[in-house]
Amino acid sequence: MSSPGRLQQLLAAERARQRGRFIIAGLAAATVSAASVLLLGLSGWFITGAALAGAAGSASAHAFNYMLPSAGIRLLAILRTGSRYGERLVGHDAALRALARIRPALFSSLAAAPPARSMSLSTGEASARLVQDVDAVEAHFVRLSANWGMVASIASGTALLLLAGIAPALAAAGIALGFLLLAHLLANALQARGRAAQRAAGRLKEDFATYAAAASELRAYGLEGWAAGRIDERSQELASAQSRVTAGAGWFELGQAVATGLAAVAALGLSYGGPLPMAALAALGAAMTVDGVSSFARGLERRGTLREAEARLESMLDAEIPPRPSRPLMDAAPAIRLSRQDALLRPGEVVAVTGPSGCGKTTLLETLLALREVEPGRISLGGADLAMLPPDVARRCFAHAPQDAALLAGTVRDNLRLAAPDASDGELWEALRDAALADRVAALSGGLDAWLGENGARLSGGERRRLVLTRAYLRPAPWLLLDEPTEGLDAATEARVLDALQVRLERTGQGALIVTHRPGPLALCGRVVALGGREVAGPALVPMIG
């Protein structure tokens, strides 16, 4: 990686925003480490010194200054406890603050990315990325203060042990550094395991989402057991991957225990010949020095998971956003020219789009909405080549009622407000009436605030379609794009919807492109654009939702 990716820039910016908190957390971590080393060293020295003084007789015992060390021990104990509380709270707070901004920023980047990139994410995988990967990054942010603790531990440990001699000090520092080197090598060797576990979790979620979304069909064919089995395979894969991660983590644990023991024993042995209290100080101080670097070392253990999460988030963000010249917004209703069909659609025209299934009718609407890439010269909007227009300029010209009736998980109001954030209830009801849906919504418990369930699960197919139509009505755009608007409606409802549509179009002067093959909507249209033959459509970018 030569230049930092967009994720790294984003993380760096948030780190900078929270710099104050991270520094406080780091200083607190350093205080914890130093206090621990000093506390144990001092305690060992105190006990040993007391023993020697006591053995030397009552005079020496009375001469022994026990006030200062015992006050020091109490102070250090309080300092350590308080600092640790501060480190944890401030460190977590800073990380959480940074991440609460990074999550929406990720969604925003996803929305700005080329459609091919953003829309190739399926439900399960997308959620795994945005939630789980961001959690991995968050955990890394929380661990940032461990760096300070590690440095403070080695510095204070070495300084303290110099009181006992150069050899014990060097031994303790050397063993602590050796442990860090070992942890670094282990972390590199074990990275692949962390990544594998992360990927396995993503695959499990992806499969689960696919099957859970089709639960009704599974029941019909008695496939629940089969589907559960397929998900179970993914679950087992994840569990095995996690076991390998745990096994890897075990090596850190072992390394830490051996290093701690080795440091204490080496410091004790190397203090041979010196005063006994200093040997006690060296042994306990050395053990705490290694202990102080261990939380940093354990952070290295998560390196694989972190790198994997970062790589995946980065790949989601790093797509080149194609530079398009910015243009002033078109204020009038623009005409649409389809060069392949040699058709110029004037503002206010009502046009039927027909053709055999699979010929690209839906694709045409999605292309107009800049949800798909378009070749230069194929479509122009208000005299400008669509390929050269910023997506926003194109999108504001259209109100779309898609065929797959995509609804948000939310209330009726949430879904309608998507098109018109400031619409009054009266306007919402009026649009619902025009889509022959007002009675149904009024009958829902909660009315406009009725919860629809994911993708409008509480509504029938025809009702979802009319809700999507209502939503399109509410958007004040010069063109309506209606994809099979009356499919799945009975004749009477269709007639009501079409009558209201005609009145609406006359009143608003909006143009409309209506994809249909039914006689009712066709009768409404002043002209027909037939998409002949099977155009080679790009990969389906838009998730197909039933």
Binding site: I231, S235, G261, D449
Partner: protein
Amino acid sequence: MGDGEPMSQSSPDTQRPDKQGNARRRAWLKEAVKAGGRWNGAATGLLCLDGLAAIGFAAALAGGLTSLEGGMEAVWPWLVLGILAAAGRGVFSTLSARAGAEAARRAKTVLRRRMVVASLAIPAGERPPVGSLMTSAVDEVEALDGYIARFMPARMAAAVVPFLVLGATALASPFSAGILAFTLLPFVLALALTGGAAADQARRQFDALSRLSSLFADRVRSLPTVLSFQAEGRETARLAGAADELRRRTVKVLRVAFLSSGALEFFAALSVALVAVYAGFNLLGLLPFPAPEALDLGRAFFVLALAPEFYAPMRRLAAAYHDKQAAETAADRLEALEAMARAPDAGARPIARAPAIRFEDVAVRFPGEDRAVVEGFNLDIAPGQVVALLGPSGSGKTTLLNLLLGLAPLTEGEVLVDGLALSEAGSFAPSIAWMGQAPLIVPGSIAENVALSRQDAPVEAIARAARRAGLGPMLLERPGGLDAVLDERGAGLSGGERRRIALARALLKDAPILLLDEPTAHLDAEAEAALIPVIREGAKGRTTIIATHSERLAALADQVVRLD
């Protein structure tokens, strides 16, 4: 934003803790943990051995220190013991972690399978969003990992290791052991207080996490819609709100958790200081009361080095306490999810021949809905007849089909299939071939996708079903034909092609009842005309019900029923 409340309504309710609930939850967790088998015990046992090694290490340091004056030969054995004890600690705690992880792996796998089965068995009208189900089956099951791998062994070890340490301390200095034992009760009380306060907050934090997860999944799924309405800015703001709510809740949970663990740590440090002061003054001979025992440097140092180990198991338990809370929260939610599942009825045994179907005063009302979808419905279908259900959207056509599958509740009346009552059988799914409005496309070949309805079907049968469903032209266009591989989303399939795959699936299943839900929707007039004879052919020898809006399709029926 109007988002918070409904979302939590639709996810499994979390109940406030009460005695009965606690008992039930404990039993539920116990059951889940059981799948770990003997690995649960192994993790605990190894953790206790770790405690023994800690005693050895303290002895080695004390022995080494006191023998420093006796020359290096006297020191060596102690140093070797120290290294061995330290390595022993590492080995035991590593093995304990691995045993705990193995127990967790087994339990999680079993539990996740249970949750997946339950998720798939929740009836259509009551199902929480997929994102929320996914959180339950993946993340909430994962919440048991820490409970089994860390909390359970820590709790068992906390009941054993302190007494091992106390015994070892008593050998060196009974009075110090007394000091430690004296501090045990208040320490345990503090530990217990730690738990209760944070549990409620932890539960709310989990709700927030689940809500954020659902919201992200839904908005990413709906990205095309969001983009076409240029609502990305508003939706980003909504996500920011949810993310910030999660942050605030998390910090609240953490503040309580850190404060209580800080209190424990402080208390442990004070107790150790008390032992240190006693030992120091005892050695100096300056105790304000008659010395209960004569300490020497070795004993004093041993006691001091060991004292923190007395509290270590309990602090480890406190550190793992949030694992317990997370597991309990998850247990409540998973239990509620399981309760929503309607155990799939085995259904009536497959019927050999096209049956007569009779609907008698049938009413269907979904729980929580104030309006019945279908009421007072009567219909007589002779064996082998084709019936078309026509009617306005929302008139319950699809619901009547789902009723036969056991996917909708029979609130009143009865459905009789060859005299067999639906209220007794629960479902006639084994005798039904079905085509719905949202076909499942799984990664794999077209043949595999068709054969979902009959997985042992021979290749020729699959090919025949595909041809009969009008998939021929599409297969010709694709390299490999039936073996052409589809990805998860069935990229490149048109709406009509998806329907035909689903229809082929329905035709492949050798079932005497055929239910078709809008089989010609999304097909142009020409394709519909081509499909109608295929459906007529498929309906031969089967009792067939078609829910449709197409008068042309309805024309092939022997009986047309108009719902209103």
